[in-house]
Every structure is written in structure tokens, then in C-alpha cells.
């Protein structure tokens, strides 16, 4: 029964990691950029949902309806300005700039909202759950987040494979210059990829705020989990990211079962193991590695 527990918990939290990670994976696949501020954007979204959305007369439950598109827009703008500027220089600069942004954002949140924990309030819904077996309960919120993750990944997959824009984004990711020779404005497409990335991470951030408390410093840990999910699953594979997230979730739940202090450590160890043994990840292509 414990194994069953670990599995169910791992899958539920893994879905959340995948939701968190798909935008990171998309940006890395298309722009070859690891956005080190990715986790902090999620936290910002959660703060907007808690502090700003009520001011605009949007209840916190429905805040994602405006926060997600807002972050899409923000992603496009940030990409076309700051990130494009740093990409124009070199990958080294992009790492420095996104890390700098991450620290600045975290400390801005700290200065404005203090280090107190916050959460997105959705009423009594948050504690509702159903019983799966004698010792396993599944919360509706966690299940909804898993469902949202599968939905987002599926929609993203469809977008990339079936639509013209999606196809051209993949072309830019394969060979930027050749895509330009087919008429692709890669900077605009980078902007669209960033918009999707920011929108999905905003949804992930609000979900996170519903499920647990968050603080300005939550971004860093979440970036690590997202990155670990992407690498375990394999860069360039969306469903791989879901499997990677679930694998990470199971490793963490198993660690917590061994010793509550080992939860995150076991996830890290799985990640390092994958890097050592199969650096392209479970579903990744070797050539996709930077």
C-alpha cells in the first residue's frame, strides 16, 4: 500500500512539475536559452493572483483567466526587449541576465510583500478529496492540476505539430538561419515561444499557490524541479517532460518515505544520476543537447 501511495502522490505532483517545466523546455528548445528566472515568474504570477487580481474585482479562483494572458503578453515583451538583447550577445550573457533577473525579482517581492508565506484562496474546495484505497486519498485540486498539465501539454503538442506557426517555431528550433530563409521572422517567433512559456508558468504558479504556501524565495526551488523534470524526461520532448516530472515526483515521495528530510535530495540524486548515465534524458535526442 505504501508503494501505491508513493506512486499516486508522485504522479500527482509530477503533473504539476510538468506544467511548471513545459515552458522552460519550450524556451530551451527554441531559443537554446535556460531562463533562470522561470521559477520567479511563477511566483510573481501567484502574487498577482493574490494581491492584484482582487483589486481588479477578479476572485482568486478565477484569477488565472486574466493572469495567464497577461503573462503571455509580458513574455512576448520581455523576450523582444531584454532577452533578445542578451541572446544577440551570447549564451553566456543570457545566463547572467536571467540569473540577475531572478535575484532582482525575488528581492523585489521581498521588499514589497515581505517574506511571509501566502496562498491563493479558493475557499473550502482546497481540502476536498476522495478515497482511492484504504490509505490513499486524492485531492481534487491536485487532480485538477494534473488534468490541466495534461491538457496544456496536449494543446502545446497540437499547436507545434498541426499549426503553421507551431511548425515554423519547430523549424526555427531546428535551424534558425534556414528558417529565416523560409521567411520566418525568428525574433517574433521567439516572442511567441516566450509568451507561451510565461503563460504556462503563470498557470503553474497560481496552481502552486493554491496547493501550498509560497514566498518570494519559492522561485529558485521550483526552477530546480522544473529543470530536473525537463532533463530527466529529455529536452525536446513534451511528453518526456511529463514522464520526467512524474519520475521526479516519485523519487521525491520515495525519499520522503525513507526520511522526511530526504524528499528533495532523492529528486536531486535521480537528476544527477540521469545526467551521469543518460544525459540526453529518457526521451531526448542526443543532438538536442546544447
Amino acid at each position: 500500500m505504501t508503494w501505491f501511495n508513493i506512486l499516486i502522490e508522485g504522479i500527482l505532483v509530477g503533473g504539476f512539475y510538468a506544467l511548471f517545466a513545459c515552458g522552460l523546455s519550450l524556451m530551451f528548445g527554441v531559443m537554446k536559452v535556460i531562463n533562470l528566472a522561470h521559477g520567479d515568474m511563477a511566483v510573481v504570477a501567484a502574487y498577482v493572483a493574490v494581491f492584484l487580481a482582487p483589486k481588479w474585482h477578479v476572485p482568486e479562483v478565477w484569477s488565472f483567466l486574466i493572469v495567464v494572458p497577461l503573462f503571455g503578453l509580458l513574455g512576448y515583451v520581455v523576450q523582444r526587449t531584454l532577452l533578445q538583447k542578451s541572446i544577440d550577445r551570447d549564451p553566456f550573457t543570457t545566463l547572467l541576465v536571467t540569473f540577475g533577473l531572478s535575484v532582482v525579482i525575488e528581492n523585489l517581492l521581498l521588499a514589497i510583500y515581505s517574506a511571509n508565506g501566502q496562498s491563493v484562496n479558493i475557499g473550502s474546495l482546497v481540502s476536498k478529496s476522495f478515497q482511492l484505497s484504504s490509505s490513499t486519498y486524492v485531492s481534487y485540486v491536485a487532480l485538477t492540476v494534473l488534468g490541466a498539465a495534461v491538457l496544456v501539454l496536449g494543446a502545446l503538442q497540437l499547436f507545434l505539430s498541426r499549426t503553421n506557426t507551431g511548425r515554423v517555431i519547430r523549424a526555427v528550433s531546428d535551424d534558425r538561419e534556414a528558417a529565416q530563409l523560409c521567411g520566418a521572422n525568428y525574433k517574433h517567433l521567439f516572442g511567441i515561444a516566450a509568451a507561451i512559456s510565461f503563460a504556462t508558468v503563470a498557470l503553474a504558479g497560481i496552481s502552486y499557490g493554491v496547493m501550498t504556501q509560497f514566498a518570494p524565495s519559492s522561485g529558485g526551488a521550483n526552477l530546480l524541479f522544473a529543470f530536473e523534470a525537463v532533463v530527466i524526461g529529455g529536452i525536446g520532448s513534451l511528453w518526456g517532460t511529463l514522464v520526467g516530472g512524474i519520475a521526479l515526483g516519485i523519487a521525491q515521495q520515495y525519499g520522503a518515505h525513507v526520511n522526511p528530510a530526504y524528499q528533495i535530495l532523492f529528486g536531486n540524486l535521480l537528476f544527477l544520476l540521469v545526467l551521469a548515465v543518460r544525459p540526453q534524458g529518457l526521451f531526448g535526442r542526443k543532438e538536442a543537447m546544447a
Binding site: I34, L36, A261, N268, L272
Partner: protein, 338 residues
């Protein structure tokens, strides 16, 4: 190359420095003497500020060695700061004088770094960066679970209670100052050695350097281990200066941010840059000390601006404009005036 030189053998001279070596050496000795005597010259509050300043100089110099010279953007050096602190605590708990333990703690960090390089150096760019972060995070989580070292709550550094506060303050200061001196002189000598040449050839063109026989991975490994030792020194002196040792304090991600911003603003790939950056950092921190996290927000924003618009940093800009080098590690070809 030899053809060009043989045409006018006296036309060009290859030099290291814009100033004469004696001038540089004299300057360094004067500065060293001042800082060694500082506890007897300056007020106590200044002395403890200087202690923290030197800890940052050590960390920034090490980060600059990694990223500015060897192209490895680590965001996990706080892991070695923490390990250095905890190695010192461990040795002190075993009965060693904490000040004596500092070099041993640093060496322990170097030894720990060796196996880690075999995992990390296979990775490039952002992969490397995030992996260093995961390693640092894992090191902290491991230390957290060791009850002997105080677990999550931390432990006092033993062996310091017999010292009076003034003596402790002086000793801590001297430890940080000598630590910084050793790290700076060591880095300087390392960069002037063959390794420095190897690094600049790798920076210009890694593939060419590799095919010309440069041992790129070995050089990177060595730099990574040296940076681990240096950050271990910073952690060790940090631990004796606090002297309450706690995982949350020693493994702070903020260290990574500080060393990165400091090197970038000061000037990546120069010896002087991290020192200049540290001065700016402390000026900002001291003048905004009643404003909470704002000094870091301003400093971080400044670093982002510098990275995009002035990637050679402040010292790089000064050097380009005025052609000065205080601590030269490269060579320059000089044409005599006609």
C-alpha cells in the same frame, strides 16, 4: 609570425605591464602593509566591514576565475562556501583550533570537488549552471541531515570562547585578510603561468586550442578545483567570523548572486574587476543598509545592464579607455614611439 618579426627586429617589444614591475610590486607591498596593520589603525566597526569585504573579494575572485577566465558559469559556488564552513566546524569539533583548521577545510573542499568535476564538466552552458546549483543544493541537504554538525538548527564553532571579543575580531579580520591575500596572489600567479595562456587560448577558440594540444578538460578541472578551494577558504573564514554555523547561512544562494554581480560589474576576466566590484557592492550596501533588500535589487539590476551593454565591466571600460593595468597577467605588444 617569425617572418613579420624578422623584418624589423627592433620595432616591437613584448611587455606585460604598462607600469614597471617594481612600481606594481611596491604598490602591492604598501597596500598589504596597510591592511595587515588595519585593526590597530581603524575603528572596530570598519574592521568587521573589511572582514566581510574580503570574504566577498575571495568569492568574487573565484567566480571570476571560473566564469571570466574558464567560461564556466557556476551558480553553485555557495555549495563550496558551505562545505568550507562545515569542514571547519567539523575539524573544530574534533579539537582543532578553528583558525588552524581554515587551510585544511579549504583542501577538503578541493578534494570533494574532484569527483564532482567528472559529472559536471561533461555539461555545457546552462546545463552546467543548473547542475552546479543542484549539487550545491544536495550538499546542503546532506549536511542538514547530519546531527553531529547541528542538523538544521546549527552549532557554535567551538574553541573561540576563550578569546576576548576584541581579540576575536582582530583574529577574524586577519584570517579574512590573509585568506584574500593568498587567494589573490595565488590567482595572479596561476594566471601568469602557462595555465593563464591555456585559458586565454581556450577562451578565444576552444576547438583550435583543443586541436593544438591544449588539455582543455584537464585545465577546466583544475580551475574548478581551485575555485572550490578558494570558496572553501571564504566559507571557513565566514564560519569563524559568525561564529554560529547554520546551513541556511552558509549555503545561501545569495552568495552566488553576490559573487556573480560583483565580478560582472567590476569586470569579468580581469584580476582587478572583482575587487572593484566588491568596493561598489559594499559602498551600496552600507549606504542603503536601512533599506532592506534594495541594495541587492539595485546591484542586480546594474549587473544585468552591465552584462548587456558593457560586458567587460567597469574595469574593462577603464582599461580600454586609459590603457592601464595594475595587475597585468597578459602580454601586450608595444610599438616604440617614432
Amino acid at each position: 609570425m617569425s617572418e613579420i618579426l624578422s623584418v624589423k627586429p627592433t620595432a616591437l617589444r613584448v611587455e606585460r605591464s604598462t607600469f614597471s614591475p617594481l612600481f606594481t610590486l611596491g604598490g602591492v607591498i604598501a597596500v598589504a602593509a596597510f591592511f595587515t596593520l588595519a585593526p590597530w589603525i581603524l575603528a572596530a566597526s570598519w574592521v568587521s566591514i573589511l572582514s566581510n569585504f574580503f570574504i566577498l573579494v575571495i568569492m568574487a575572485t573565484m567566480w571570476n576565475l571560473l566564469a571570466g577566465y574558464a567560461g564556466m558559469v557556476s551558480i553553485g559556488q555557495q555549495g563550496f562556501v558551505g562545505l568550507g564552513a562545515y569542514a571547519t566546524l567539523y575539524l573544530a569539533l574534533k579539537g582543532m583550533n578553528p583558525f588552524v583548521a581554515i587551510p585544511f577545510a579549504a583542501l577538503i573542499c578541493g578534494v570533494i570537488a574532484i569527483p564532482i568535476t567528472f559529472l559536471l564538466l561533461r555539461l555545457r552552458g546552462g546545463y552546467f549552471s543548473v547542475a552546479t546549483w543542484v549539487v550545491a543544493d544536495s550538499a546542503m541537504l546532506l549536511i542538514l541531515s547530519v546531527a553531529y554538525l547541528g542538523g538544521g538548527t546549527g552549532k557554535y564553532m567551538p574553541g573561540l570562547l576563550s578569546l576576548s571579543p576584541t581579540t576575536l575580531n582582530h583574529d577574524v579580520y586577519l584570517a579574512t585578510w590573509f585568506g584574500a591575500l593568498v587567494v589573490l596572489v595565488g590567482t595572479y600567479l596561476l594566471l601568469r603561468s602557462r595555465v593563464g595562456l591555456l585559458l586565454s587560448s581556450m577562451r578565444d577558440n576552444e576547438i583550435a586550442a583543443r586541436s593544438a594540444g591544449a588539455k582543455v578538460t584537464t585545465t577546466r578541472r583544475m580551475i574548478y578545483v581551485v575555485a572550490a578551494i578558494g570558496c572553501g577558504v571564504a566559507g571557513a573564514v565566514l564560519a569563524v567570523s559568525q561564529p554560529f554555523v547554520q546551513p541556511g547561512n552558509e549555503f545561501q544562494l545569495q552568495f552566488a548572486a553576490e559573487m556573480l554581480f560583483t565580478s560582472m560589474i567590476g569586470g569579468l576576466g580581469t584580476i582587478e574587476g572583482p575587487i572593484l566590484g566588491s568596493i561598489i557592492f559594499f559602498t551600496l550596501q552600507q549606504s542603503l543598509q536601512n533599506w532592506g533588500a534594495w541594495y541587492l535589487i539595485i546591484f542586480g539590476s546594474l549587473a544585468v545592464v552591465v552584462a548587456i551593454w558593457q560586458p567587460r565591466g567597469l574595469w574593462g571600460a577603464i582599461r580600454d579607455r586609459f590603457h592601464v593595468e595594475l595587475l597585468p597577467v597578459g602580454y601586450r605588444v608595444k610599438e616604440p614611439r617614432a
